[in-house]
């Protein structure tokens, strides 16, 4: 495979490092803490730039609106917490004070997806992508690995306007490098096939690469697309994939409703309607357990992507939405 496994690291560390770089480059970058600074790695910035770090405590609505006030004063405020609290508890603040104000506020939402693990359903945010991508003026990023999270953090700090980055708690495979392209609004084609397109974000990008590897063994050449920019969305790359492949699988650690899959469906329904299969959490809450156990339980591994690819291709080939039973999916160990 063209994409080598370079190790494992949580994306939140990329966020923490990116913030420090931003702090070095821009004196008006301010960070607000929401008590869990060690967990979402704003602690790295705090240590380096104590004068530009303010602890707001456990008050996410206040932190979000304070950030708006700082932004309306020419600062570049970052506020980070767990996504459950800094994307949804403060949803109204994000809508009015941040997005409607077009305030230059940056939000880092950690503990995304079920790979949070033992903390359980309350802390495993699975809905925020759907919400954030409906907000006018908002930029929404879901980086695939540590390095991409670092780049995305820097990019969102250096663009003007409200932006949100989603990152996770647990270590995930690293496969992008310093020289890998990253641009807000752009998806990247990682493997160039034309049999089926696997469009993913976050940790599911690596799983898609694994699925593509397995599919290749059957002579199926999948086009794996990493789509870290949920909004603005890369309509061109996705439309092209739909036209070239005629079948799509989306994969994300999020509800199947309204997230990346929703964005792909909206795009292709308008530009190039093709069968789509959605890999994600299927309208349920998470639960406690080890991340690997949960990813299997909730169907978030390369196996589901692989099986869905066969289904999507079958639907394309039969020219209907009829689904043939797929019997040859490799079983979990």
């Amino acid at each position: 495979m063209a994409h080598e496994l370079l190790g494992q690291k949580p994306t939140r560390f990329g966020f923490g490092e990116g913030l420090v770089t931003l702090g070095e480059r821009h004196s008006n970058v301010i960070v607000l803490g929401g008590d869990i600074t060690g967990s979402v790695l704003t602690s790295m910035f705090k240590e380096k730039f104590p004068d530009r770090f303010f602890s707001i405590g456990i008050a996410e609505q206040n932190a979000t609106t304070i950030a708006a006030g700082l932004a309306l004063s020419g600062k570049i405020p970052f506020f980070a917490s767990y996504g459950a609290f800094c994307a949804l508890r403060n949803a109204d603040q994000l809508r009015i004070s941040v997005a409607y104000n077009e305030a230059n506020v940056k939000i880092g939402g950690g503990h995304a997806g079920i790979s949070v693990g033992p903390d359980g359903a309350t802390h495993q945010v699975l809905e925020e992508v759907a919400f954030l991508r409906t907000l006018p003026n908002m930029t929404m990023l879901v980086p695939a690995d540590f390095e991409e999270a670092r780049k995305a953090t820097i990019a969102m700090g250096e663009m003007h306007g409200p932006a949100y980055i989603r990152f996770g708690r647990s270590p995930v495979p690293m496969f992008t490098t310093e020289s890998s392209p990253f641009e807000i609004g752009k998806a990247q084609v990682l493997t160039d096939g034309t049999d089926v397109a696997l469009i993913a974000c976050g940790a599911m990008v690596w799983e898609s690469l694994l699925a593509a590897q397995e599919l290749a063994k059957k002579g199926i050449h999948a086009r794996v697309i990493n789509s870290p920019s949920i909004k603005p969305f890369d309509f061109a790359t996705v439309t092209q994939a739909a036209r070239d492949c005629g079948a799509i699988v989306t994969a994300e650690e999020h509800q199947v409703h309204g997230g990346l899959g929703g964005a792909v469906a909206e795009c292709t329904a308008k530009n190039a309607p093709v069968p789509i299969e959605f890999v994600g959490v299927k309208d349920s809450f998470g639960g406690s357990g080890e991340p690997e156990e949960l990813m299997v339980k909730f169907g978030l591994t390369w196996r589901e992507i692989y099986a869905s690819a066969l289904v999507a291709m079958d639907r394309r080939d039969r020219g209907s939405s009829g689904v043939r039973a797929i019997k040859d999916v490799p079983q979990a160990q």
Partner: protein, 298 residues
């Protein structure tokens, strides 16, 4: 319609200077603000009468009493003090105060709530109306934005800029108000002035009946504010409240100031006075004429 009636409904071009002045001058400014509120609301055909009329005296002192430093011809001036209307539904009084300061033509007040207007039903920053610092309307948010602004001024830029915010009293039922209050005193924001328009009314009725937020003063004190209660219809008493704030800032006490302004909803128009039914509706044409007649005699 006779000429006098028509004239009373029209906007004039009077503006008021912003300087330390006497009660009579502030009363005159408040009266003009009230009349402009009536004029804009009757044209809009919807909107909030009660709160804006009730807080006109506070706005007159804030904008025309030399408390807040701003340049009407350049409301983006980097040295300006800022006002955030947390109670966004009270937009008509802020718009009227800004117009009477000369920030934009008073005639524009006649576009309130209309298609493509800069005078949105609740303030919208995207409209770029001079003097509107932020969008507001979802209660409990403006005060937090104002805290963020005061932090930027005092803790980051180390400037002496002041930030004022006005919340309603029903708005105090929003929990996030108290998150903001907690942080204002935590960060020792003596450049932060919180005005509470305490008219005891909200849409559904009296505060204690809808959800009791009293004792307001005790709460403000407990949250670390230097709290002063003023008669919100007495210019001298309102100025006394602002002087407490200015002294706190000048002396660097590290204490934010809360001014609890006791007001009557709809004050200045007898048939609206202290009636919560007037929270969210505009006057009819005849009611507007009657209100303007009454205000002209004040």
């Amino acid at each position: 319609m006779d000429t006098a009636t028509k004239q009373s409904l029209d906007f004039n071009t009077t503006t008021f200077p912003n300087q330390r002045t006497d009660a009579q001058a502030l009363k005159a400014a408040a009266n003009e603000i009230r009349r402009d509120i009536i004029r804009s609301l009757v044209r809009a055909g919807s909107g909030h009468s009660g709160g804006p009329l009730g807080s006109a005296d506070v706005f007159a002192a804030l904008y025309f009493g030399g408390v807040m430093r701003y340049r009407p011809e350049d409301m983006h001036w980097s040295g300006r003090d800022r006002f955030v209307l947390s109670a966004g539904h009270m937009a008509p009084v802020m718009y009227a105060a800004l117009a009477n300061a000369g920030c934009f033509p008073k005639e524009e007040l006649g576009t309130l709530r209309k298609f493509n207007t800069r005078l949105q039903g609740h303030p919208g920053r995207d409209m770029h109306l001079p003097g509107v610092e932020t969008s507001s309307g979802s209660l409990g948010q403006g005060i937090s934005i104002a805290v963020g602004m005061a932090m930027a001024d005092k803790l980051v830029d180390h400037s002496d800029r002041r930030v004022f915010t006005l919340t309603g009293d029903g708005e105090l039922q929003e929990g996030s108000v108290w998150e903001a209050a907690m942080s204002a005193s935590h960060f020792k924001l003596d450049n932060f002035c919180w005005i509470i328009d305490n008219n005891d009314c909200q849409i559904d009725g009296r505060l204690p009946e809808v959800m009791n937020v009293y004792p307001i003063v005790d709460k403000c004190v407990a949250f670390g504010f230097d709290t002063v209660v003023v008669d919100g219809h007495d210019p001298d008493d309102i100025m006394r409240g602002f002087d407490v704030f200015l002294t706190n800032q000048a002396n660097g006490t590290g204490k934010p100031t809360a001014i609890v302004a006791k007001t009557y909803m709809g004050h200045g128009v007898s048939f609206m006075n202290d009636k919560f039914e007037w929270h969210g509706k505009p006057p009819s044409h005849d009611q507007a004429v009657a209100a303007l007649e009454e205000l002209a005699k004040m």
